[in-house]
């Protein structure tokens, strides 16, 4: 167990990070992500209020749809990244564990009268991820295997009222299930009873998201990195780019127009030695950036990393040196993800 975001979390279960990681990509893994913050915003003004805090297009979000966006500060930095689900008369947010108290205070301070914020402390969050996740859930929730990626559904699982989104943090197909905390143990045991499912710890959660090229808050993105630098421009719609109306909009609009000074890029070490967070990136002895996440990619079967480099050097194929234990190690800038995404496409 290790401390994470104020919680004691298991790094791994019995079989270890490597096999948990590979099992999730091959079958299905269950993650207890109840440390994350679940927040509901109820009232007619909720959409407009959230749009004043994030660059994501919340107005365009139809009921039942989910979107990834981020809370920004006045400098265009990222206070947190989050998921926003639109329900008929409310928005449901999922924010990071270590940032949730700040996020809630920040959001609450910017809500107009008539919008109510409910911090769902009595709900747990379980993620079932992997190519067989849908088949496992289909046994309990007929029809669920057909719902689209990035949608939210209310359903009954063994008589328990839950909501689930088809989303996740592994690059695989999968679902995140919001369940009453009092029934979480029951739901977890039910899902783990399926022969396809193993419990997966924090270690594999990190290696899976790293291979998928997904950002970890506090490492790959933080209050000093903008969504544009982080390569998250795809989360900002044409309307929001044009209109602004969120914290740091001027900085972000300028970076969209002129390009940012640095970019988050994928990094492929050429040898077998992992290059981890904090490792300096050089070209010809000149520092051009730093690794923000790195380690061994079990599915890639080699070390993988991501980090920020000067915009002029952020070109796929560029040869770089990673300074590991004082020695330069050859690497290249590569496109992410390191392992192709396998999100569900309903054809």
């Amino acid at each position: 167990m290790v401390p994470f975001g104020g919680y004691a979390m298991p790094v791994q279960y019995q079989t270890g990070i490597l096999s948990e990681h590979l099992h999730t990509r091959r079958s299905a893994g269950l993650f207890d992500v109840s440390h994350m913050g679940q927040v509901r915003l109820i009232g007619d003004g909720a959409i407009a209020a959230v749009e004043r805090l994030v660059p994501g297009d919340i107005q365009a979000l139809k009921p039942g749809r989910v979107r990834y966006t981020m809370l920004t500060n006045d400098q265009g930095g990222i206070i947190d990244d989050l998921m926003v689900a639109r329900r008929e008369k409310e928005l449901a947010l999922v924010v990071n564990a270590g940032t949730k108290d700040n996020d809630i205070a920040h959001i609450a301070a910017h809500l107009p009268a008539g919008v109510e914020l409910i911090y769902e402390q009595q709900r747990a969050l379980l993620a079932l991820q992997g190519p067989l996740a849908a088949a496992v859930l289909e046994r309990h929730i007929p029809g669920i295997a057909k719902v689209a990626f990035m949608t939210e559904t209310a359903a009954k699982l063994a008589g328990i009222e839950i909501t689930l989104t088809r989303s996740g943090y592994t690059g695989e197909d999968g679902f995140e299930l919001s369940v009453p905390a009092s029934r979480a143990d029951e739901v977890a045991r039910l899902l783990l009873a399926a022969s396809e499912v193993l419990p997966i710890g924090l270690g594999a959660r990190d290696s899976l998201r790293l291979e998928a090229g997904l950002c970890l808050y506090g490492h790959d993105i933080d209050e000093t990195t903008t969504p544009i630098e982080a390569g998250l421009i795809w989360t900002i719609s044409k309307r929001r780019r044009a209109e602004g109306g969120f914290p740091g909009d001027a900085v972000i609009q300028k970076q969209i127009a002129q390009g940012p000074g640095r970019h988050r890029v994928g990094i492929q070490p050429e040898g077998r030695a992992p290059a981890r967070e904090g490792v300096e990136i050089q070209i010809g002895g000149q520092t051009i950036g730093k690794i923000t996440s790195g380690g061994f990619g079990p599915s890639a079967d080699r070390p993988v990393a991501m980090g920020y480099v000067d915009a002029a050097k952020a070109i796929t194929g560029t040869a770089i040196d990673l300074i590991v234990r004082g020695k330069p190690m050859p690497a290249r800038i590569v496109a992410m993800p390191f392992v192709p995404h396998s999100y569900f496409k309903n054809i």
Partner: protein
């Protein structure tokens, strides 16, 4: 004296005549988890007791391996470069790291014997 000794940092050292074989203990590999990379010292390098000798990286983290005693490296286990997971499967056998020519054998006396090491890891839980 049994010919295997241990450090507080979970290295083992086995004396074979005037050479010593060094690796990390079963407890160490369990704590590290899946080993994915091992960096070994160059043959010929003079190691100093308690100083960095090798690096072992698991999916979780990078860890230094320290020299249990002074000595010159005479052989390294190149198998670990291709199959680092041998450290997990056979830490005190095929997963050895390097061999040194024994210098000051008195240094061995300062290390833990098997009983003392086992008692120490018992206490670590």
């Amino acid at each position: 004296m049994a010919n295997i000794r241990f450090t507080n940092d979970h290295e083992w050292i086995r004396v074979e005549g005037d050479t010593a074989v060094i690796g990390i203990t079963d407890y160490a590999q369990q704590q590290l988890g899946d080993v994915v990379f091992v960096e070994l010292p160059e043959v010929g390098r003079a190691l100093e007791r308690g100083k960095d000798a090798a690096v072992v990286e698991s999916v979780k983290a990078a860890s230094e391996v320290y020299a249990p005693i002074d000595g010159q490296v005479i052989e390294i286990n190149t198998l670990l470069l291709d199959q680092p997971a041998t450290v997990n499967s056979d830490p005190q056998g095929a997963g050895w790291f390097f061999k040194v020519k024994l210098g000051d054998t008195a240094q061995l006396e300062a290390l833990l014997d098997e009983t003392a090491y086992n008692n120490m890891i018992q206490e670590l839980g």
